[in-house]
Subunit: 400 residues, 2 copies
Amino acid sequence: MDDVTLARFAELAVDFGANLQPGQVVSLSGAPGKEALVRAIANRAYEKGAKFVDLAWFDPWIKRARIEHAADDTLEFVPPWYGERILALGKDRGAAITLSGPVAPGLLDDLDPVRSGRDRLPAIRETGEVVGRRELNWTILPGPTPAWAELVHPGLEPAEALAKLEGQLLHVLRLDEEDPVAAWRSRADRLVSVAKLLTERQFDALHYEGPGTEMTVGLLPGASWQAARFETADGIPHMPNLPTEEVFTSPDPTRVDGYVTSSKPLVLIDGTVVRDLYVRFENGRAVELNSSTAQETMRTIITRDEGAARLGEVALVDNEGRIGALDTVFYDTLLDENAASHIALGRAFPFLAGDEETAGRMNESDIHIDFMIGSEQLNITGITKDGERVPVLYGGAWQV
Amino acid sequence: MDDVTLARFAELAVDFGANLQPGQVVSLSGAPGKEALVRAIANRAYEKGAKFVDLAWFDPWIKRARIEHAADDTLEFVPPWYGERILALGKDRGAAITLSGPVAPGLLDDLDPVRSGRDRLPAIRETGEVVGRRELNWTILPGPTPAWAELVHPGLEPAEALAKLEGQLLHVLRLDEEDPVAAWRSRADRLVSVAKLLTERQFDALHYEGPGTEMTVGLLPGASWQAARFETADGIPHMPNLPTEEVFTSPDPTRVDGYVTSSKPLVLIDGTVVRDLYVRFENGRAVELNSSTAQETMRTIITRDEGAARLGEVALVDNEGRIGALDTVFYDTLLDENAASHIALGRAFPFLAGDEETAGRMNESDIHIDFMIGSEQLNITGITKDGERVPVLYGGAWQV
């Protein structure tokens, strides 16, 4: 990216995505290969009055060394100051900006997947708590690197691949618009209005039907649907995901029955690719899990805690978004989950609960793993308390 | 560096420098350009049973953005979790490995030096406390980068400059020996035995005499000399500096009289070069300071606080060391201070005091600035309480 593009990207991240307020401390998460973007964002943050930009740098090669050599019983260890940092940032009402996207694809492929599954870093458990309490205004955006471009566009020369990936990211980020913020406001308005509608309909359950998928997910009466725009507890609006194309809620973790097959590869936070994921649920619990790659890793992950085998999120993605239309697997959840409707194992979003009782019924877990099940062939139907069936999203087109 | 050299470097850092113990958490401090060394060290640490390698990554371009844009009254702010991390690491009896050496020479040159001076990061106040309590086994080694090589060898092609700097560093680190640890053990034994001897001699003062230098420095009866090898409170020996060639103590800050002339350029932490430094002391205090470059900067620095114009350290460096012989200015205190005998304005080392009373008599300051006065022409003589004069180091050769 040239300097002008870097500056426009940074402005979108800081001014609109995180909506950084003067005097805030901002956590900035990056990784090798993303230096130029990280520095542009830090610069913009200080221009907008940040009190401090706290860089959180994650080097996957160091993680590889750990998985390779560290003692088995240490692999789940996280220094206590990692969580304390996030809790303190939340308490101080800070901001957070994260650059997503694979850094070193395939780096852990030859290692023991069970050991890899034990080390969840750079994910930190306390992040979920702080986000759940809406203490931070935060945003995640994709940060392109040559290695990522090669993964997504393996047929192209490295420079071409990078140019193509960057072009796609600028497109889905609406940075190819003269006024990206206006474009985002309009898209967000649309998604928020659908979320409002779904919340009002008070469906008792959703039924999913398509190739390899036949599942009913119970919904919680006190849980709302949300989209695009969040607000902190102090009322700072922000865009947690850029791009975002989803409308989502947290379901009843005890009422999920049937089976789903992923419609796109799932890429774990450490770059592991999970293909052809099949999960069968009984009474909310994943009782069978198969995949053609990283099966043992996934099976280990869902035994991590009581909630790891239950759903924390269901998200609907229409075909008006920009990601699905590119028909590209980005190997990055931020993008791929916005390409198609998806569900997530693990932690729910208590901020979607209107009351304590509903929050208490939502799923709890240290993990949160989204995977895509949506496609042109998937139909999602709402079921009311009276058993009425109402078309919601058929082949990516809203029916509500 | 090729992989074999990286592995040998990492082994020296982890096994010998920090003397990492199985089960320890290790803080690993690096910066852009040092990725390969950082990863080799992390790998070795995990091989040696580290519980966790906690990367502390410092990006000076983000610091530049801060100095450029942040509000004046925020520049001294350090997030509380920076200090808490170090304190927790010390409490847990962790280890620390730091790679020194300029990362982006001149990066802050066009910015307001007063604002730059307010932001002391990556230095963290609590580090001094934890080191003072001897809670960590730690080591600092030089980590070469192309930018550093260009600074040290500006006349060479970039690749040649880097090769030359790396060659010099491997030489001073004894990594060009078949058994670097044996070479270091022998060198450390020599330095430690001199330190022991000097401590036993209980000199009342040292007299310095050479071209441009004629100075007497009073010593504190309760202060010991140290060198090379430190031990944690729990008895883990380690090598805080690699390379190290000095034998040092903290003198009586009230009994320094005479004048000194620097024998090599002094490089300040922000890269400013001070040449031909002349300082005259009366009753311990610098009463006259001249230099051919950065004179005003130095005069400002020694007015920073009460102790800034007094000595906190005297260090003797013999001509058996490897750094001075290279006749190279490295622009890195770790190396440059070990090239020749030096003294330091500012903070003393209370851990050298045998008792509280002696510690209380040592100099206190926010600054600690080493500058070299040693040369082939400098003779250093010990003066006993009875006025006897005992040759100590004449032209770089030990007389004791």
